[in-house]
């Protein structure tokens, strides 16, 4: 199988209706053109990839462009749509819900839209959560505040129960907004739908505040996350300078990757150390973090540390098997507290006067409303998801790659997580900004 086939998007059937949107198919008339399945975006735009293709005389891997199709699968006036939001909060969820409803209603004339309450729980009848009708009026102002008006939950539900429920309610399209676990669930639902020979399209909008989905440029909520974290770092700097030898630790999200921590630190350049999951730093001994911190205090009498929640897991004594949360993520040991204790112990042992302030703003960040950039991004993601689903695409997500909105098979985006390349330009920017050593070990 050609590697390109890995990125083929599944359709639930041949398109049967003309799109009610009045677009063009020719270039030059100042009217947007319908997008065709053959319209593609190259995946890897490095010169290296290019040269390889040239040498091997083959076309590069390319992704299907998202956008309105001329022919669609569902008959809008009869289509029934459900929306579900799963996992932890993330800025922009309400923007996505709003734009899904607005797009379905105004572009296609879909009139039957329901919200599933409290994540996949709401698809399991045992919980007794009711579906709630969604209309342009009911979602009009929900982007102003954060959170999700539908509620959420973590963890999987029995797939067959969920598909039973979709069938019972005659849902044609399910939009699932969530992270890794959610998308795995969406894929399982999609496969069960296939198995039963149903015509239900399953469209995912990937949500991870950590920005760690590997094939796409960025995920929604991420920019807001470091935007909200930015003044908190300024505050932490005030705490650090407010006492003699003051150390302020800000713990930010980032289970397996340090994008939020690194970006927040770059955006408010008063940070002296950034510690992220990708780093294998040591605390003690020569060149270790504590020695570096001491040097900093000797010189400047204050320090600001930003640490990602998943950093330094190698510093914990391994105690048998790892614990997982309801979403199936490995539960991390609390690096923030470990760091706080280690620093305190170190300086107490040295009779070195200093003060630590520990700040964990995670809930404040993830429940904030989307900023302007994310608002745009959420809206465009949602509209593209609507176009794809109405055209009959299924088992897919929408995402942005090289500034283009594309369709990706769910299976592809849940394979691995994006990480910061410690040898890359972005991490070097962090090192330049903080002045911390290239390697702490």
């Amino acid at each position: 199988m050609d590697s390109r086939e890995h990125f083929l998007i599944q359709n639930i059937g041949a398109a049967r209706f003309n799109s009610p949107i009045d677009l063009s198919t020719i270039r030059g008339d100042t009217i947007f053109n319908f997008v065709r399945d053959g319209d593609k975006v190259i995946f890897d735009n490095s010169l290296k990839a290019y040269t390889e293709c040239l040498n091997e005389e083959r076309l590069p891997l390319a992704l299907e462009k998202a956008g309105p199709r001329e022919r669609i699968f569902f008959n809008p006036s009869e289509t029934k749509v459900a929306i579900v939001t799963c996992g932890g909060l993330c800025p922009g969820i309400n923007n996505v819900i709003r734009s899904l409803v607005m797009g379905l209603h105004y572009f296609y004339g879909v009139r039957q839209i329901v919200g599933i309450q409290y994540g996949y729980e709401g698809l399991n009848p045992e919980y007794g959560h009711q579906f709630i009708p969604l209309t342009p009026l009911s979602v009009r102002d929900i982007h102003i505040t954060g959170g999700t008006i539908l509620g959420s939950s973590r963890g999987a539900q029995e797939v067959s129960l969920m598909v039973d429920n979709l069938q019972r309610h005659q849902i044609d399209i399910l939009f699932a907004i969530g992270g890794d676990g959610t998308l795995k669930g969406a894929r399982a639902i999609s496969e069960e739908v296939d198995r039963r020979g149903l015509k239900i399209a399953i469209a995912g909008i990937p949500k991870t505040i950590d920005n760690d989905i590997s094939l796409i440029d960025k995920s929604f909520g991420f920019e807001t996350a470091f935007d909200v974290a930015s003044p908190i770092i300024r505050d932490a700097h005030n705490e650090a300078t407010g006492v003699y030898n003051g150390v302020a630790i800000v713990k930010l999200m980032g289970r397996d990757s340090g994008f939020i921590a690194a970006s927040a630190a770059l955006s408010m350049p008063m940070v002296n150390f950034v510690l992220i999951p990708e780093m294998n730093f040591k605390l003690h001994g020569e060149g270790g973090f504590l020695e570096l911190l001491r040097k900093r205090l000797d010189e400047k009498h204050h320090a600001v540390i930003v640490v990602a929640e998943g950093a330094g897991q190698h510093l914990f004594k391994s105690g048998g098997e790892s614990v997982k949360d309801a979403s199936g993520n490995v539960k991390h040991q609390d690096i923030g507290r470990l760091l706080q204790d280690a620093i305190k112990d170190y300086f107490v042992a040295e009779a070195y006067p200093m003060t630590i302030k520990y700040i964990d703003p995670s809930y404040i960040i993830r429940s904030a409303p989307a900023n302007a950039s994310d608002s745009i991004f959420c809206s465009r993601l949602a509209h593209h998801a609507v176009h794809g689903a109405m055209a009959g695409k299924t088992n897919f997500v929408v995402g942005m790659r090289n500034y283009c909105f594309v369709h990706l098979p769910i299976a592809r985006v849940i394979q691995e997580r994006k990480k910061i390349d410690l040898e890359g330009d972005f991490w070097f920017a962090v090192l330049q900004s903080t002045g911390q050593p290239l390697v702490i070990s």
Copy 2:
């Protein structure tokens, strides 16, 4: 002794110079008049106090008005001024520093102003902190961010050492920005100065983010505190509604009084319970807090709780003597964690599904920049402190009473702390806004 004498302001000597400020002494020329020591503001403006005075045919208690005096004690061109900031951070400290410097420089022409670093530590030569010169240029933009450019510390220093130091540096005026402990220190310095027959004026600018100074309308930083807390409560509400039976707890400052918690809850009216130090609530049993919380979840499936840090101390088992921090404040047990545990235990025991989110934004609040109201307030407080000190007032603080800026003897403002009257109009407003019962017991 007449009670009014309790509020007499001490002078370090008879005024010797004409004020360099070109003001008026007659009304009606559209130019502000110099304030005279006899200009007073009545202390208690209740009808009851009024009637009592009428019946007893006596004048009411009245406070000396702050403001520029026609004759001043210090010769500006020779005056040397020091500024010290003590205790925890509070929004507006830099605004006060800035306005002290600007006022001294531009109104009076004082050219020798120094900042003492790291609180009273900076007055104790053993710590080796240097004085730093303060000029209009060096303080011009410091109000934009929070914190204190001088640094701070908690706790007392040996008074005689500090006065030695003031003498050695030939300081004429010391401005001390701080809370209870700081003002007690300022008073002790003032008394030692007296004992030595020195002519050093000691002026306090009372700082307590908790707003619990008893004789004045409000303290600086307080309005900013609940202003910053307000969107955090909105975020907490997003967390609470984001899951089924979600409970969000926001712990706010308030050691002995609940002003910040109550005001923040009033300002973002999605709060269901406010718990403050003044309340004697119980957790368990009929009418207790946990039962009320359960009823709330039964009905609405989410709840937002705001708790002041000093609330519910009666719920902790008393274990011998109380512990105090470096500032001499009784160290409180952590009501936030107790509440979190008690709630979890209660609902687990009842096999009642629910989720708790705990948010403690204290450092973010106290290190924020002053908002517009507080900026004005800080600036006016500082200017009045400058006028008072230049006139030779000492052992006094500036404050606002019945919308007027007044002088108060330090001894008076450290006697007791302001608390919320549970039978008063303000607390009733909180009960109306939250819908919580009048009494939880």
Copy 3:
């Protein structure tokens, strides 16, 4: 007639029902007490007023305290309430609407509440605006954004038509949120209601972003106004310093008084000149504004000017009669543009290189959401209005005087406007902050 009678509050009839609120009448049980009509707050708390009363052996003027009454006039289960918002936008209107609805619903159990659309127009059937039902659910989130969900309009409508309409809809209580003109209208409605022998209570919540209502401490929206204006002044300073001899003019609201301009300037102390309606400054000649501005540019090469919209009206050539807007306010000539032109002409004539930036943020300020302080204030005002109206008070407004919420007869609050005392402490604070001369003439 005793002057105190001027402040008597009219009742539409004797109270007939027990309050459904379960409060206390005794002090000391930690439960808020019902407020009695005899509970009063003294109006003037100056020592001078005090002494006069003492000398004349009379009680001082005192105002009726607002708050829940033990006996009320209206039967909540049958009461029908209407809310109308008039005049220009002001931060906090939605907070007031929300709190009126919440208070009526939750404190008293009132179930019939309607919103009148587009101000008094909505009471005139000719316009065809429908009443809209208001419920806790429909108003729950309206405080998050600014504006008024009911819409507004300026100008009077035929009183008899409006009262006909109130009668036809069997309205028992009308809450009117608006400024001078609105309150005049409310008073006229109240008088027509009296004339017809109806039992309709008319309660006003005074709205003026300018803070120029004379008998009360402050009006809602005012603090938000200068809070929003504050960073705009920082921006203006950036514009002024961004070019050589840069002058930035910020025009702020203030028809007859300069409270917003003065407060905004105090809150962001980079302003060099504040021009307000109360000042009689001249532009040209020695000591005139233009000469002062030139001196400033000579020294510092930039200047920031804040001007209230109603300032400098004496500088316009009087051309016959004054023009009024639909609200009956005298239409002011545009001082911002006049200033801009005069400055430009002056420096061009002198061949003095400089650049002017003119910023008018009025719409951005008045349509902003209420800040935390104003949110509290709006909520408390509205709750007090509910208590007063349910008790049968009419032809009254609620306001804060000396930190107490009181009832005031409408007739009293529309008599004159509050102005800045140019010889007072507040204006002197502005002069100290800006460094501008005591008088510009």
Copy 4:
């Protein structure tokens, strides 16, 4: 000449020194590698461009990657650097200045850095503006507020005078932060430097709040611009809904392209019409804008319009030659006022009651501090400019292309301006969000 040669970066001479930065040259050691001049990024990542290259068996156009070089031209300890900021304000200028200074000082150890005041004026001795020394301490906090600490000016200065001045001050590197005109000036300086055989590197950091530089992903300040505009649109919506048939017009920046207007409208999806320079809309007649507006008011009774300053220039009667400002940009006629007048006239003529509010927040937007995304972007741009200039690159700018930081010859970026493609995905997103017709004509 191969088209690729158009993108060759000029060097002022062969590198002579080893970089003081301790980086790696091998991959896999977790240490960032020096960038080599041969490291390139492909310019056009469309599948079409790809296929063409494949067919023609040639390498695609590629750009030189920015980043630290192993060998540099300038000896840091002797290097003297100057920074100049020109043209209108834009969020992020101070961030760029700060990061240039920090990068030069901390990465390379450059100790002689000066700021040129008031744009190119500061290079012309006739103006008498002094150079000011820049140090890490003096620039540490300048990113907190907007504006430029160096001041700016528009327009060109005599090139030979400027180069004389650079020579006289023995400047080795000039960083020029500015737009089209500034970059043209930088190129002219560079050419004159060449002519004289001097070794002065000229590096540009392109600044255009309009985001209209054609070869790069985005320009700094642009994201902040629509971030700041976003709540202003919410306010405008409050104004529009606050009256019956209310129309609010928000005029935003955008001389030749509508990126800010379109992005702001997308970010706050209450906008009904976006008018941009790229559109050739008509006002009157069937299908014209005024008819559309009337239909909107008929249905919804309010409308929000966002208009870019350069929109609708075809609607003005051409009156001879176009006027240019000091920067050489064509001065646009005021579309905001024209629109306001045309709307008023149209509805007055139809006796259709409505109200217009006109909001022009331009100065507030451009003088705001950079948001978090832009802060990061500015910092990285500046650091890359430092690396490029220290390596001896000249007559170049730094920019981001396909998420990579690259060097571009100044001559290339000033050739043409980026515009919104009316047939593209982005503009279609705007149409989807507003619901306005595909074409207004």
